[in-house]
Structures are given as structure tokens and as C-alpha cells.
Symmetry: C2
Subunit: 102 residues, 2 copies
């Protein structure tokens, strides 16, 4: 499995608009096992995104999906940048599809 | 919802043993919506744990569950410390139980 933990920074006052776009774009991505979007309660412009994919190739492939490309285009003007992005290697836990966990 | 993103550090050489204990302890925790355990591919002793709970109270309550207390006791000698622990406020995404997502 391939994972990402990223901290995205919205432009001031744009976090809720950005969250709405992100929330629309998380369904029906092939190979996506988990994609959770969260506010940072201590940082008014920060969004945490934690992702699990069956492979890095599936993650890369998702960036070419029409709905993801549309979401990126719509979101881009509201994104100030990324504070951090960490690759992980998920090994299991609760909340993954059974065939993805081990 | 209540979330946590934590980076735990195993004592040198103990990551796999620690992962095995963590993986056993993630099932049947009331109010737990997501609990994913990952290796850090760039840091041989680091483990990332990303959690989503229906409430902070459920998270706190989990620490009193017999199986969690047993896992903590067993894991403690293998844990060097925590590099980071961030509270989040999950708002939705893919991979949460339907009643927990919105």
C-alpha cells in the first residue's frame, strides 16, 4: 500500500470553500482505499489530507481522472501551498477494505 | 469527528515488533471510525498512526479498554517516544462509515 499525509494551506478565508471541493472529489477513484479530509483546529487555514492507495501508480493515475482534474482546476486559486507532504507505507489497521488490509 | 495524526518512534530495531502489537489492537474500539498504521519509508524507526473517532470522548475511552491497556503495556518498552501528535477535525472523505461521513 502507498500512503500520503499532507498539510495543505488555503488562502486566508478560503478553507471552507476548498474543503467543499475536496469533499466532492474523493469518491470513485480506482485503487483508493482511504481518503480523509480534516480541518486543523489550531490553524484556521490548514487542511490535513490522509490517503491510502493500493499502489503509488493508482495515486498517480488518479491525477488524470476527469473529476480530479476538474477539482484541481477549481481548487487551485484557493490553495496557498503545502506545509508538508509525507509518504507512508500503510500496513493495516481499521477502516481499510478487507482485501487491502493485511 | 475527532482525529489524530501521530508519528511514533520505535526503539532501534523494534519497529516490526511494535507494528505487530499495534495491528492487533485496532479492532472493536467503540466510536473508532478509522485507525491506520503505516511505516515511514524514509525513517526506519518511525510509525505513522492516523485516527478518526466519532468524538474525543470515544478516543479517551478507548485508552481504558482491556485490550488497549494490554497492548500499551506490551508496546511501552519498544517505544522511544513521539515525534509529533496533531489533533484534527475530520470533515469527511472516502473510507469512513457512512454514518460518520458527511
Amino acid at each position: 500500500m502507498f500512503g500520503l499525509i499532507g498539510k495543505m494551506r488555503a488562502k486566508p478565508g478560503k478553507r471552507d470553500d476548498l474543503l467543499a471541493i475536496l469533499l466532492r472529489g474523493t469518491d470513485k477513484m480506482p485503487g483508493c482505499l482511504n481518503y480523509i479530509i480534516a480541518k486543523d483546529p489550531a490553524d484556521a487555514d490548514a487542511i490535513w489530507i490522509t490517503e491510502v492507495w493500493d499502489s503509488e501508480a493508482s495515486h498517480k493515475g488518479s491525477l488524470s481522472l476527469p473529476q480530479v482534474r476538474a477539482a484541481i482546476t477549481e481548487a487551485m486559486p484557493m490553495i496557498a501551498g503545502f506545509d508538508s507532504a509525507t509518504r507512508t507505507e500503510p500496513v493495516g489497521g481499521f477502516g481499510l477494505p478487507r482485501e487491502g488490509a493485511h
